[in-house]
Amino acid sequence: MAKAHGLSAPGAYSAPPSGPARARPRVLASVVMATALTAAGCGGAGTGKPAVDPAAPVVVRLNSDWDSLDPAKTRTTNGYQLVTALYDRVVAVEGDKVVPYLAESWKQTADSVTLILRKGVTCADGAELTPSAVAASLRRLGAEETGAPYANLVFGNAGHTVEADDAARTVTVRTNQPYSDLLIGLAQPMASIVCPAGLRSPAGLAAAPAGSGPYTLGGTTRGASYTLRARPGYGWGPAGHTGAYPREVTFRVVQNDSTAANMLGSGDLDLGWISGPDVRRAQSDTSLTAVTQAIYGSFFLVFNHAKGRPGADPALRAALAGAVSATDFNTSAFFGAGDPATSPVSPEVPCHTQVRSPVTAVDSAAVTRALAEAGWILEGGRLVRDGKPLTIRLLGSTDYAAGFEYVLEALHRTGASVELQLVELNGFAETLFKGGDWDVTVYPFTPLAPSLGALGLFVTGEAPPKGANFAGIRNPGFESAVAKAQASLGAERCAFWAEAQKTIVESADVVPLVHLKPHWFARAGLTARLAGGGTLVDLHHLSRS
């Protein structure tokens, strides 16, 4: 079973090539949370800017090119963006609720989900999508030979089986241990259902989709634009959605935020995600409507717990956690585009619990006292214990470099000797998940589904290179609470998740800093929803008015 890291996939962050303000969750798709991004009718009138032509294709920004159109293989938000339009899933998420999609209904236990599939679903090539075909697609996702990087976000880590009954129109997924996040896991983009033609030649899926979704891939100019055409007769959207789909949706690759803001202003783009200082320019354009939704996770400070590392000492972790201001990190890394975090997950996630008051202004005296209690005393401006100075290796990603420079400064002010290693996102992920040399970092936890379960995948289990517990956290209280939550389906589930959040934060194993809010802007006359914690456009709910 492949294991997910939250980094270059559902959970990871990425940014255009330069500057701290460019940071944005690239991957991390979650699935369809659909916070309404309702741009319709808001603004535009009297601005003098050209109005949206109702018959024209909708043009949406991709902030970078996609890596693969194979739902099981793509690692980027841009890949998931197209995948969610080309493929269907068995269930979907709207708001914080799971809704029917290819499955009309389901029965869930703590370790299984039995889906009853609807009739009449066809693939883009006209073949019928049977329960057996759906099961085959899910089996492929979980198979080791597939090498799907984020299959465990769907099925958990304990192994699973998939069975189909064509006569009863059911597909049953069973996990080897209780995993109550299974249903919401099946709503994520990587669990998109690949049609039989695609399963027969999976290598081709990277560029040639084989789905049953509302769109098919039309014109393609690699690296520049991708045109999707609505499928005539498509009528099995999430929650029975059969609304009109725009005849054509064109995704244009625009890496530069300033260019994207210009294109939105001139009408060359209808919808786009903007980050950095250009957000203010777009906000002041009255022909555009801003839509924001916090990511489901957070950017959290985390220490390496490996033996011999400074972060192995809980008292030191707690003391240093107080030295980093969430407000200042938010300003440095994201131009203030997020909210100070009170939990590893955002308030949009069911069972979110406010377990920490974010540090908005650092109390230096309190930090010094806490460090002294941990045995670290200031001598000549340097923190020492038993005659040895405190040296910390801070691992940072170039995607939000200014944020890490702030953390460097904040930790340095305590008297620690801090060395910052800034690497690009892939190197950042590799250092974390291959057991590299680091003591502290800010991890971009950006799951694609409103679920707490993803957190457990990164902070429990084996440390790298065997597991995805990149910081080597051992927190029996958290593990116990997660196990209980995953074995529960009733109201008590949130109590267990609350306990889990409290335990992991109070031990300073995870120090939530910021819930980033991606800023999307839509031209007047366009109605849309976001999915994936604000990282994706939900094409099932995209229309012109």
Binding site: G147, S225, R252, Q255, G427, E430
Partner: protein, 314 residues
């Protein structure tokens, strides 16, 4: 030195530079931190899977064997497959080369023609200390234009001509008009630098006795500048043009990003960020080879056009 001997030496130098480029591009994969096999296999891959990938890519071979294999593949125009997308690198490059070629060609044409023309005109206008004001304005203007980075120029041009005036597309290459602003953005700084050099060269030529003799013979200005001044000033322009071309290729990397053009430059940036080493290797090799070859051609052209250079190298 006989022309054939000179040509053989020149080809030898070019070949040595290309060989150096091959070595550098090969070492790129080995000098950057991290394991390429992990990058291909994925962070979740088991040690066995990583080992299998290492074997498949030949990364378990001694480095000299890897280099020999790399060179052999390069000569077959086989750069492997993209780590990121699995597509053959030649296809990736093929799909983007046209855009960069168009931009670079337009850029070099505009740079050379504008740089030479403006430099020549300003040299003529400001010869013998005339028009001090124009000279100062020219110096200030070209200094500014030469100092402004391409991304700033590009952003300003887009803002004024696309967003405010709406005359040209903001981004993309939907037609010939889509190439106008990127070409200006990529050409402005090198054209400014080149025009300064050509002006100085023009002034130097005008100070020569043969130029004074031409004026004394009351030849028409067009003939003086066209026949006597331009060919002599052009030597410097050509020499600098080779260097300008290298800078211009660097500029396309930035300008393609600003104008959302799907060229090699934007792909290079994307591939560096994604650690897609095969694509980075191939693009660096291609751009580097282009610079080496263009400079070789420039040297040959200068030798052909300028008898002084011929004499010096004989």
């Amino acid at each position: 030195m006989h022309v054939l001997t000179w040509a053989a030496r020149r080809i030898g130098v070019t070949a040595a530079l290309l060989a150096g480029l091959l070595v550098v591009s090969f070492l790129l994969l080995h000098l950057v931190p991290g394991d390429p096999a992990v990058r291909v296999a994925g962070l979740n891959a088991t040690p066995e899977q990583v080992t299998a990938v290492r074997q498949r890519l030949g990364l378990d071979q001694p480095i000299h064997r890897q280099f020999i294999g790399y060179v052999a593949h390069v000569f077959q125009l086989d750069f492997g497959r993209s780590f990121q997308t699995g597509e053959p690198v030649t296809e990736v490059i093929g799909s983007r080369l046209g855009v960069t070629l168009r931009l670079a060609t337009a850029g070099i044409v505009v740079t050379m023609s504008a740089g030479v023309l403006i430099g020549l005109v300003m040299g003529a206008l400001t010869r013998e200390g005339r028009r001090r004001g124009a000279e100062a304005s020219f110096a200030l203007g070209t200094s500014l234009a030469g100092a402004v980075p391409e991304y700033v120029t590009g952003a300003l041009l887009a803002l004024v001509f696309s967003v405010v005036l709406g005359w040209l597309p903001v981004a993309g290459l939907t037609g010939p008009s889509g190439l106008i602003l990127p070409t200006i953005a990529v050409s402005l700084a090198p054209a400014a630098v080149l025009s300064r050099i050509v002006r100085v060269e023009t002034l130097a030529v005008l100070a020569q006795e043969y130029a004074r003799a031409a004026w004394a013979k009351r030849l028409r200005p067009l003939r003086v500048y066209g026949v006597h001044v331009l060919p002599n000033a052009l030597t410097a322009a050509l020499t600098v043009g080779g260097l300008v071309f290298a800078g211009l290729l660097g500029g396309t990397v930035v300008v393609e990003n600003v104008f959302a053009l799907p060229g090699l430059g934007s792909k290079l940036v994307e591939s560096v960020m994604a650690r897609d080493y095969p694509v980075v290797q191939a693009v660096i090799l291609l751009l580097g080879a282009a610079i080496v070859l263009v400079n070789g051609c420039v040297e040959a052209a200068v030798r052909l056009l300028d008898p002084r250079v011929r004499a010096a190298t004989s």
